[in-house]
Amino acid sequence: MKDSQSSIWRVISASSVGTLIEWYDFYIFGSLATIISKQFFPANAGTSALLSTLAIFAAGFIVRPFGALVFGRLGDIVGRKYTFLLTLILMGGSTFAIGLVPGYASIGFAAPLIVLALRLIQGLALGGEYGGAATYVAEHSPENKRGFYTSWIQTTASLGLVISLIVIMVVRENLGPEKFADYGWRIPFLISAILVIISVYIRMRMKESPLFSKLKSEGKTSSNPLKESFSHKLNLKMVLLALFGATMGQGVIWYTGQFYAQSFIENTCKINFDDSRWIVLVAILFATPFFIFFGWLSDKAGRKWIMLTGMLLGVVTYMPIYKSFLDNTNVAEIAKTSAVKTSSTPVTNTAADNNIAVTTTTQTIMLDNGFGYKQTISDTTSLDAAGQPPHTRTTYTEKKLPPGTYWWFVFLVFVQVLYVTMVYGPIAAFLVELFPTRIRYTSMSLPYHIGNGVFGGLVPFLSTLIITYSGSQLAGLWYPIIVAAVCFIIGALYLSARHAADVMNNEKIYL
């Protein structure tokens, strides 16, 4: 009993550490996108800017689901262990290599081309990793603890994001912004190699999944998992149900709670760089244990309604949450109720371009209630008599929140990450139980990566687009709200609350 207990924890830690590193590798590219684009994709070089878009878009949206198919097939034919060992090596190798690629200034057009290729390998590897890790852990788990054990894998995406942000902030803090932009940004990429070597060593010592080994010894593994998964009606209808009734909604809740929230408070509310990151980091750290809690709870109460409740709460509360973000950073309103405590000496600059003169006056102001901000007043005048009439615009940036509001923001982000833990904590066990062992890796990986990569990954792009068309800062939320609402309806109507009794014999599954 003690042996099997320690064995399952070895399985969980080996799988989780590897998956954590893969997420870390994937996120550092995103977190350092601005610096990377200057190093490899200068905007004035047309084709390289194009490759930059491809690196960001294609890696997430096309290559991830494609990786799910490639590595899923391999995992169902060769085995789980060797496949997710391969994805780990590919991910770690390509991340390390990005840290070594000379910049555009040194090797020209080859630089963005190499980085694009490495980024595509990253996306491909990520597409293959998750399904392997979740399947591997689930196939080692007893039926009544499958949700609990697989939920450890579910913490890795959030922790990968947190660790990537912490490593970047620590390196930047130690080197200073200039050295960091010059060469220091390479360090987080290079660190990946050490982490991957340790993780590969741990994974090498693990045995193949017992369910897959049994199937293999009996000669019952699938010879063509892609065909079996997507051309047999019984499996295809479950792949579609998993996508439209679970992973689609989970993807948008995940990205809204962790990425859109951070982007909104930094870019729309204009909270200063450090505070906006710390708010999200603290909220994620507080919420992370709930992945385990909801995974555990799903073993007792079923997976379906925990996941769907998370989606419904997102649908109902996103608007008031984001409205509160806006209201609490509305300088015009806040300044009415609090006097100015200190203000810096105004700094004025004038610049002329294309017959237009712009005079900007910048001042840092701190109010009595602890709210601070940088005020910039721009006076635009046309030097051409026939030009546009002069106009004045005031903008408020680098806002600093008073402690009460700061912790209120942490709470609001925490609530959103709590929804993430509800939809994401039980989903690995849910997906695993939906498909038979012989095609599980393939069948569960594709809906997962379409749900997360495509539906979730498009949250920033589509939300920004909706804001541009509507003019309302809250309108971008309609995309995750509508997708989560449709997914909730499909999930509530078509999924069963019962989870499969035995993962080996679940071919008739969920109805």
């Binding site: 047309g46 878009t53 878009f57 687009l465 449709v486």
Partner: protein, 105 residues
Amino acid sequence: MTFLQNLLNATRRLLGIAWVLLAPFCIYLIVSNALKAFDKADKAIAAAASDTAKAAAEAAKTNTMLQWGIIIIIFLPIAIGLVIFGKYAMAGEYNTTLAAKNKTA
């Protein structure tokens, strides 16, 4: 089978029509938005005052086309999947059957 289960099955079948119709509607939305974005990019090129601004606007248009091209390519098969899902729902493939209930009970 109880009255409620029959009602649920009927709702599942009926909503199948909604899923079949939702897919082409989504594709229509995506394509029409893509066309609007291309049009906006064309206008930006036409309005560019200098060669530098024109080059930047042209690069922006290429990026816009690439982004929307990827979105259309990736959403088309998903929309087809939604139609198939709707058809299965209409055919009662997701309905609770007595046999399935007995098997999982």
